[in-house]
């Protein structure tokens, strides 16, 4: 079965077959993280490390390492390592691209994108091989398509067309599989070309969960709003000529039913190029709690340069949170201008409000948004290594 091997003593590479009796000598030796003969369990299958290769891309001259693995039931597979990032790669029987020529295609529900095409050479080999890795590598054009964490490799030479599938494997998984401390593996640098930005969920799942959560928030809001009573508990108009010597209007007592709810105090003053200002004190007659707040409204309008304009409003609104039930009245300390002499207020209990809902939705959206932006940034970084980047 073994057709090519290296001498453990002098490190030459030679073939067993009749077709090529040449001996290959390598200039350098290279350290390997997984020793020959090491056994590891990957995806439930025990593989043994049979051979180790260092390959060099012919054009850009970068190098990477491949470990040939073997299992008698499943045949051979590879572990490929570049910049400390590992892929587990195995041959497949399919022709995933069929006869299409595009750089992108769908296979097993994943969209694969051409990442690189290269010719490589073996610059170091150690161990035994089921085919002539040196000759085959030298004559093969490889295309790699990625859909992180997966990759598909297409190796073509004059005599063979082979497809491989690969999947990113973490140092931790590899360390556990081969029972070799992760510190023995090459230092990880940058983002691996098949390294997923998140290993635990897909974009689609994140978006679906985000949408479902938002829908749940909206439904909760609609459900809760249906119980909001939105009751006007007091309204009246006040005139400056009724102002007491203490400069205060004191409303009659009104009752706020139920437990803690919000309270909306709407102020209206019929203003024309004027302002109105008041200090309000909402007083709980049962326990003496006072809620002090102020409101200033102003409204100006005119006609200038052939156009009419206005700014401000004759309405002002104060929304008070968490006002317990009980008996209340409001003390109003108004300041009138010379023109305006009246205002009115309307007090509404248990008003449906939507800002909390929008805040929750925003918070729910923030994580996927930041994640997807981050992912896009990382994807751009990943593809910056490729001649076929979809981001160019």
């Amino acid at each position: 079965m073994t057709l090519a091997m290296t001498c453990p003593n002098c490190h030459i590479y030679y073939r067993r077959g009749n077709w090529n009796k040449d001996i290959t000598k390598f200039e350098n030796t290279y350290p390997q993280a997984l020793p020959l003969g090491a056994k590891g369990k990957i995806d439930g299958t025990v593989y043994e490390v049979m051979g180790f290769l260092v390959k060099k891309e012919k054009r850009y001259k970068y190098t990477w390492r491949e470990y040939m693995l073997f299992n008698p039931y499943l045949g051979y597979a590879f572990l490929s390592e570049y910049d400390g990032h590992w892929n587990f790669i195995w041959p497949i029987e399919d022709n995933p691209k069929e006869h299409r020529v595009d750089n992108s295609f769908v296979y097993e529900h994943e969209t694969y994108q051409l990442f690189q095409k290269y010719n490589a050479e073996v610059i170091y080999a150690n161990g035994e091989f089921f085919f002539d890795v040196v000759d085959l590598t030298d004559s093969t054009l490889t295309e790699e398509y990625i859909a992180p964490p997966f990759l598909l490799g297409r190796e073509v030479n004059e005599d063979s067309l082979l497809w491989f599938k690969g999947e990113y494997i973490t140092e931790k998984e590899l360390s556990e599989a081969f029972d070799i401390p992760a510190k023995n593996f090459p230092q990880k640098r940058g983002l691996g070309y098949t390294e997923p930005v998140s290993t635990s969920f897909s974009d689609q799942s994140l978006i679906i969960v985000g949408i479902l959560l938002c829908l749940f928030v909206i439904l909760s809001q609609l459900f809760l709003s249906s119980f909001d009573k939105n009751t006007v508990v007091y309204q009246d108009t006040f005139s400056a000529d009724k102002l007491t010597s203490q400069k205060v209007f004191i409303t009659p007592s009104f009752t706020l039913e139920g437990s803690s709810k919000n309270l909306d105090i709407e102020t209206y003053a019929p203003l024309s190029n004027d302002w109105f200002y008041a200090e309000f004190t909402l007083i709980n007659e049962d326990d003496g709690t006072e809620y002090n707040f102020t409101k200033e409204i102003e409204y100006y309008s005119g006609y200038e340069g052939g156009e009419s304009w206005s700014e401000g409003s004759m309405f002002g609104e104060a929304l008070l949170s968490k006002i317990p039930g009980g008996h209340y009245h409001i003390n109003i300390y108004p300041e009138f201008s010379t023109l305006n002499h009246e205002f009115s207020i309307k007090v509404t209990r248990d008003l449906p409000t939507y800002t909390n809902m929008w805040v929750v939705i925003l918070c729910i959206i923030i994580y996927p948004a930041v994640y997807l932006v981050h992912k896009r940034y990382r994807e751009q970084a990943r593809w910056s290594e490729s001649d076929y980047s979809p981001y160019d």
């Binding site: 998140s198 290993t199 635990s200 969920f201 897909s202 799942s205 994140l206 679906i208 969960v209 959560l213 749940f216 928030v217 909760s220 809001q221 809760l224 203490q246 205060v248 004191i250 007592s253 437990s259 803690s260 709810k261 919000n262 309270l263 004190t281 909402l282 007083i283 007659e285 326990d287 003496g288 709690t289 006072e290 809620y291 002090n292 707040f293 409101k295 609104e317 104060a318 929304l319 008070l320 949170s321 968490k322 006002i323 009245h329 003390n331 300390y333 248990d350 409000t353 800002t355 909390n356 809902m357 805040v359 929750v360 918070c363 729910i364 994580y367």
Partner: protein, 58 residues
């Protein structure tokens, strides 16, 4: 629709969202508006300052 292991991967996101949702429901029940509230200054007056059924302010 979503694989179980992916839901597991999203557990911190889902748990955070559920906590936020609980706060949201609780806030609605007690009438707590987180942001568009009017700023109030809250004080506690003692009954000795009251006159009849009214509290006089200032």
């Amino acid at each position: 629709m979503i694989p179980t292991d992916e839901l597991k991967g999203l557990r911190y996101y889902i748990i955070s969202a559920i906590l936020l949702l609980s706060l949201f429901i609780y806030s609605d029940i007690i009438g707590w508006n987180w942001f568009n509230d009017t700023s109030t200054e809250q004080t506690r007056m003692h009954r000795v300052h009251s006159n009849g059924r009214y509290f006089y302010h200032k």
